[in-house]
Each structure stands twice: as structure tokens, then as C-alpha cells.
Symmetry: D2
Subunit: 147 residues, 4 copies
Amino acid sequence: MDADQLAQACAQQMFSHDNVSRAMGMNVEHMACRQSEVTMRVTAEMLNGHQTCHGGKIFCLADSAFAFACNSENESAVASACSIDFLRPARENDLLTARAFVMHQGRRTGIYNVSITNQNQELVAIFKGNSARLNQAVLPQDQRSDS
Amino acid sequence: MDADQLAQACAQQMFSHDNVSRAMGMNVEHMACRQSEVTMRVTAEMLNGHQTCHGGKIFCLADSAFAFACNSENESAVASACSIDFLRPARENDLLTARAFVMHQGRRTGIYNVSITNQNQELVAIFKGNSARLNQAVLPQDQRSDS
Amino acid sequence: MDADQLAQACAQQMFSHDNVSRAMGMNVEHMACRQSEVTMRVTAEMLNGHQTCHGGKIFCLADSAFAFACNSENESAVASACSIDFLRPARENDLLTARAFVMHQGRRTGIYNVSITNQNQELVAIFKGNSARLNQAVLPQDQRSDS
Amino acid sequence: MDADQLAQACAQQMFSHDNVSRAMGMNVEHMACRQSEVTMRVTAEMLNGHQTCHGGKIFCLADSAFAFACNSENESAVASACSIDFLRPARENDLLTARAFVMHQGRRTGIYNVSITNQNQELVAIFKGNSARLNQAVLPQDQRSDS
């Protein structure tokens, strides 16, 4: 496996165990080393009283894209801190795309940025995530031995 | 209505229109002017692959507590930015409590802190939210005229 | 030494080696365990083109108060991340007070908040600092053996 | 003037009134629309007790690069919030380069990222700035009428 194939295998493994992302209808569109692209359509259940998408739902999308990117080297990592700026409301049926990319990855900690855009390429939110590695693999033993 | 009663009426109005918070089983335990306390139990559907509560779910709880606090004066406000530090994992059946309090409230923008603790009073996360008022009321006209 | 005396000794030790804080005219007004209060007067050299205090100078004041607070238990710690919200400009001759207090202190990492107010008790900025301990003492050996 | 020449004129105007940046020995290396590159050498006076560059000094460098970038369209803007992650210490005589680039610029508010690297292209810190426009020009009237 090369680095991008490893990234895809890690995302597949994580996504298959991530009920939250699947229940929200997320889709992993693209994976590469320390990068990801994840989409989600805004449904009626995601709306708040202003009839716009709940900020927590946009955060979840960004957080998932961040998780796939910072786990893409088969080193299990969790979020230690995140921040998000909300720039424009998202509305029912909008198709949101979160693109995560690395800013810094050290031996143990990393920093990733995620942009969230709608179907008109308008920026909906900007997210930053700090990750910390756990010193364990993402992939199960047998899958790793294939690589 | 005094300030705390107004805060309660605003939270009631918001919560009744907030499908996301209700669907997650949140409960508004206490409201006062620029303050709130909201609880949520971690369910199986909230777990990630590490069998701990998805960070996005903890964010949603904090975000709701923040929203109730920054809308508590019957001035509709939205989040412009949020940040969260994750300090300790939350596990299935944990009862999380988010307590929001004001750091700053100007004419238009505000800053609120939210602590998220578990049933053992251990700190699970710290959240900060920046709010921006929209120049409209939270309560419908008839309810305001009662006040 | 009790915890507050230890905090004072640590701040004294740090301040005597901190040319930056002394050159800016900072003064440590009060120290306690995981808390500090530091003042600084805004001078002409601190002004930017808008004739208000440079944001970096306000940051330095907050950062010093944070440093004294997160080093107050004789465990040397450095900042891993900081954030600041600027709420109101500071002007020449304003006397700024930074008050740092702990939000969380674990075995290794901590989170501290700092409020920066002017002489009219108006909030100028809000600062949050994340600290990481270095596994070394603040005080030199001989001073510690006294305690 | 094209957009990049305007950016250079704005930076020149600001720098000539910014005693803080000049006193710290900063140098504007490159300006373009919504982008800047600023260098600073770490001097003995910038060191803290650990003999590494004071975090506040690194913040000041990043903050200046941010200011030049968010004022580069001749619309005066100030910082409303900033955050910084410290990744690696800077030492005496290190030559730091701050590169600011736009993430988002709306009618009134903007978000800019700044990377701070040393002379070995190692990342020292990552900075994010939120800006708010003031509805006034950066350049004096006569200079603008030339454009």
C-alpha cells in the first residue's frame, strides 16, 4: 500500500465503526495522506429555530473530516481541541463539503484545517483541530500485515 | 417578568423549536440571566470507534447551553465562533452537565464560557462561544406583550 | 511554605529572569496558587497607528499573568496555545490589570483564563492559555530545599 | 496602482506609523493583496527565563503580518480575536518569517492564517486572526487620489 491507499484503508476502517457520521449521512469522497474530503446533505432534522443548519451539525461534519485526516497514517489519534468560525448559514438540502488538510504533524501532536463549503462553493465555516496520537494503530493486525 | 423568568421563557421558546437538542435527549435544568445549565445522557448511538462519546456530541451539548445563555435576554443571537478543549473522554451512560456563563456581553457581541462535567464532577470539556445579536426578539409578539 | 507562598516565590524567580515583562513595566500585584494579578501602564511606545495600544502588547501582559499562574506550583510549564479576544481599545496611560485563574490543571496540561481590564474596570480583552509542564522545577535547588 | 501595489502602499503607510513593529526590528519582505511576509531576528532582549524567545514576541510578529495582510486593500481593519499554537521554541539569533494569507474576507470581517517559520524552514508557530473593518481608509487622501 502507498500512503494514499493507507489513508483510504484507515478511513474505511474508521467510518465502518463511526455510527455518528453514518447516521448523519456523511460520505467520504476522497482520502489521501493527511487529507480528506467528506460531504453531508443538510436535512430537516438538522435545522434549528432559525430554519438554518444547527452549528453542532456543521461542527460534526468538520470534526469527522479532521478525524479521517489525522488518522490517515494508521496512527490512532483523538482531538484535543477544536475551534470553528461560522461564516454563512447552511439551509435545508444544502450539500456541504468539508476538506481537511494538515498544517502541522509532529511525532505526537498535529494541527489540521478544515474548510466547509456549500454546493455554490461558498465558505460556510472554517475549522481548526488539534490532534494527539494514542500510540496504537487504526487498522486491525491482519489488515496491517497485508501492507 | 424579572430577568430570570425572561431567561426561562426564552429557553422554553427556543427548546420547543430545537429538534436537534430534543432529539439528543437534552434537558434544560436551570436558566437565569446570561446563564444556563443543560444535561444530556451519553447513549450508545453517540459513541465513536473508541467506544467514547463523539466529540461532536459533546460540542452540541455545550453549544446548546451557550445558545440558551446568550439568548436569555430576549435578543436573538447566533454563534459566530466556538472553541472547545477536550479533557477527558465521556462514556456510555455518563450524565453530562453543561453550565454556561457570561464572560462579556456588549450591545451586539458576547463571549460565554461553558464547562462540561460528568456525574462525578470531573471536567470533560471546556467550551467558549462568541455570539452576535440579530436585532430581533426570541419570544413571539404576544408573549412579549405579557411581560 | 504554603501554596500561596510557593506561588509568590515562583513568580519572583520567574520575574527576575523575564527581561520582557520587566522592560514593559509590568508589576506582579498578587500571587496565589494557580492565580495571578499583573498590571502594566500603556506607554507611548506601545501605541499603533490608530493611537491605541498594540494588540501584541496586551497579549504580552496576559501571557505573563498566565505564565505566573501556570508555574505557581513550582512545576515549570510553557504555553502550547493561546487565544485572545479584543473587546475595547486601550489608550496611552491606561493602567491595565490582567487577572489569571485556572480553569483546569491536570498532571501535565492546564487551561487558564485571563481577564484584562482598564482602570475603570472595563473589560479590554479575554485571554485563554493552554500550558504544558516540562517536568522540571521553577525554583533553584537551594530555594526548594528551604521549603 | 494594481492590487499588489496598493497592498505595498498600505503596508508602507502602516509600518511608518507602527513604532512597535519597527522597534522590534521587523522587516516587510513582501506584500500582495491579502498576503504579507514579515521577518524578525530574535535578539537577547526577546528571551525568557528558558533562554527561548518569549511567546509574546512571536505573537507580535504574527500579529503584524496579519495586520498588513488584512489592511492590504486600503480598508482599515483591526483584530477582533487571535489564536496561536506554539510548536517549537525559537532561540537567540533565529530569523523568523511570518507569512500571512487570507482564509476568508467578507464585506466587514476576515480570517487570516499566519505561519511562522525559522531559518531552517521549521514551523515555529501557527496563528489565526479575525479582523473587522472600520469603514475608513488606510492611505491618506492625497495618496489615494493618485491611484
